[in-house]
């Protein structure tokens, strides 16, 4: 199937993109149509195929099947034409330790022009990176920021950032996400992968979920937040109490139940979770929960409770 294209469309499009490593299918046939001018979160646990998908889009890993185009340019051969129109920050941090930060930036920005170098230097200065020092003296977070400075500087329509906020302290993470939001507001499409929902969900306009090399969902961030908001989790004293509550709640219309030890998770199809909780707590004869959580969802919980995927 051909990927639809238009020049400079700032879209990331994939049709049936597939990659195998030997017998293992790292990426099952995947369709995407992302952008323009949005931040899209690519979420999935470790080994879910996020990096393989990103590398396949860039031509770093040659797809076994399917097609892709970025910013209106079809992925062909080793992907050189695509990589000219996109910047990429890899998830795995490995740099040339013997180089100074400035030399490493120059190296990462080969083929991008002097403007990109000037801008990258300015971004690195904002991040307070010591560019005169050798990269081997940098901390993990500083190396991450150096890669980000190189990926954020060139004037391109699409940026692909793998685990861009991993290893950053909360303050710096907020600054990076703010910078990405400003970039997206100027029309740049940003595909941002992470295995921590809470690190990226507020910055993203849409979320794509991967598990075991398959795209299992694609939602707006608002829809995901709404689903998460309708999840109520209660923890009881023992399994007998849990079973008693579960039996009663099973009769509630529009409530999907999940019991895990002494914990009961309820996903509401609609309605106000506070009202539901109030009615549960006021039900005569039901034991009182030891703990209640409302709308707090880790990525693993989101997968399990909302998308029904185990083992994330």
């Amino acid at each position: 199937m051909e990927t639809p294209r238009a020049p400079n469309d700032r879209r990331i499009v994939a049709r049936g993109l597939t990659r195998r490593f030997g017998d293992k299918v790292a990426l099952h046939p995947t369709d995407l149509d992302l952008g323009p001018g949005r931040i899209i979160g690519l979420l999935g646990p470790n080994g879910s195929g996020k990096s393989t998908l990103l590398r396949s889009l860039l031509g770093l890993v040659r797809p076994d099947a399917g097609s892709a185009s970025i910013d209106g340019v079809r992925l062909r051969g080793d992907g050189t034409a695509v990589r000219r129109r996109v910047t990429y920050a890899p998830g795995e941090i490995a740099l040339h330790g013997e180089r100074t930060g400035r030399d490493q930036l120059d190296w990462l920005l080969r083929g991008r022009g002097p403007d990109a170098r000037r801008k990258a230097t300015a971004i690195a200065a904002d991040f307070a990176l010591p560019l005169a020092k050798r990269v081997r003296t940098y901390s993990h977070g500083m190396k991450r920021q150096l890669l980000l400075a190189a990926a954020l500087a060139p004037d391109v329509g699409v940026r692909i950032l793998d685990e861009a906020t991993e290893g950053l302290d909360p303050t710096r993470r907020g600054e990076v996400l703010q910078r990405l939001a400003e970039d997206a507001a100027r029309g740049t499409t940003i595909l941002l992968s992470s295995h921590h929902l809470s690190e990226v969900d507020r910055a993203c306009d849409a979320l794509v979920f991967l598990a075991d090399g398959r795209k299992i969902a694609e939602d707006s961030a608002a829809a995901v937040a709404e689903r998460a908001r309708r999840l109520v989790r209660m923890t009881f004293g023992d399994e007998a109490e849990t079973a008693q509550v579960a039996a009663r709640l099973a009769t509630f219309p529009g409530a999907q139940l999940r019991v895990d030890g002494t914990r009961v998770s309820v996903r509401l199809d609609a309605g106000d979770p506070h009202a539901f909780l109030a009615s549960v707590l006021s039900s005569p004869g039901l034991p009182r929960p030891r703990a209640i959580a409302l709308g707090e969802l880790s990525l693993a919980e989101l997968y399990r409770e909302v998308y029904g995927v185990e083992g994330c």
């Binding site: 860039l58 000219r84 795995e92 190296w107 080969r110 083929g111």
Partner: protein, 253 residues
């Protein structure tokens, strides 16, 4: 890119300087060697070594410098440089995990690999050509006449020979991920081949037969390169580079 070029230049200059110093010492020793050839011939063990010294002595200063510069200096130092420069070309990036950021540059893989191949190759051969060009000037200090032309031609022969060693190691680097092991492996092969060269019954099986004193003497006699040796060596290098390109195209981060 400037940083990479600087690194290549530094390596080439360092190894070229050592090569030149070895050459200076060898040339300045020529008068003593010339006066002691009969004694040296009696001391040299083995037929191959004896033959080498005899061939060297029969050609005077030219034969002596061919042996000292090409057969000793360039084969040993140049061979080691070829092994080290080529071994880290791709395997070095794989080993330290920087293959991904290298491949992510907005250039084709053919260009990335070609740049690295040419940079390393120039670092190996330019010092050989440059130091060889200084031989006539150095020989004038020991009152020997020589012109640059034949030495330049001979340096091209040596360069082509070392390019083949460099290219073979480069191919292994494109396939592998342990640059140190690849460099030591290449050096080991060179040492074994050199040992083979010194064994009368097996000397014909050594690749050092493609660039020994007889080959260089023939170049001086003819005043031209021997296409029967040069062309197969160049073809071998090209084949190795093509193989490296095929291997590199399949590499994944």
């Amino acid at each position: 890119m400037r940083r990479e070029l600087r690194a290549v230049l530094v390596r080439a200059l360092a190894y070229g300087l050592v090569l030149e110093l070895m050459l200076v010492a060898a040339v300045l020793y020529w008068p003593q060697f010339r006066d002691n050839v009969p004694a040296i011939l009696r001391l040299v063990p083995g037929k191959v070594m004896g033959g080498m010294v005899a061939a060297m002595a029969s050609k005077g200063a030219q034969g002596y410098v061919i042996f000292q510069h090409f057969f000793k200096g360039c084969h040993l130092l140049g061979g080691a440089a070829a092994a080290m420069f080529a071994a880290s070309a791709v395997a070095g990036e794989v080993h330290r995990g920087t293959l991904e950021i290298w491949l992510a540059l907005p250039f084709s893989r053919l260009r990335l690999l070609s740049e690295r191949y040419v940079a390393g190759l120039l670092a190996v051969v330019v010092p050989i050509v440059a130091t060889s060009a200084s031989i006539p000037w150095l020989l004038s200090f020991v009152k020997e006449d020589a012109s640059v032309g034949p030495w330049f031609t001979a340096s091209l022969h040596e360069s082509t020979f070392l390019a083949a060693l460099y290219s073979a190691t480069f191919l292994v680097s494109a396939l592998g991920s342990h640059p140190t092991a690849i460099a030591f492996g290449a050096l080991l092969v060179m040492v074994l081949e050199f040992a083979l060269y010194l064994v009368m019954e097996a000397t014909h099986a050594s690749f050092y037969r493609l660039a020994d004193i007889e080959d260089f003497t023939r170049i001086f006699d003819r005043g031209a390169l021997d296409p029967g040796v040069i062309l197969p060596l160049a073809a071998f290098s090209l084949l190795c580079f093509a193989g490296a390109q095929l291997a590199f195209a399949r590499r994944v981060p």
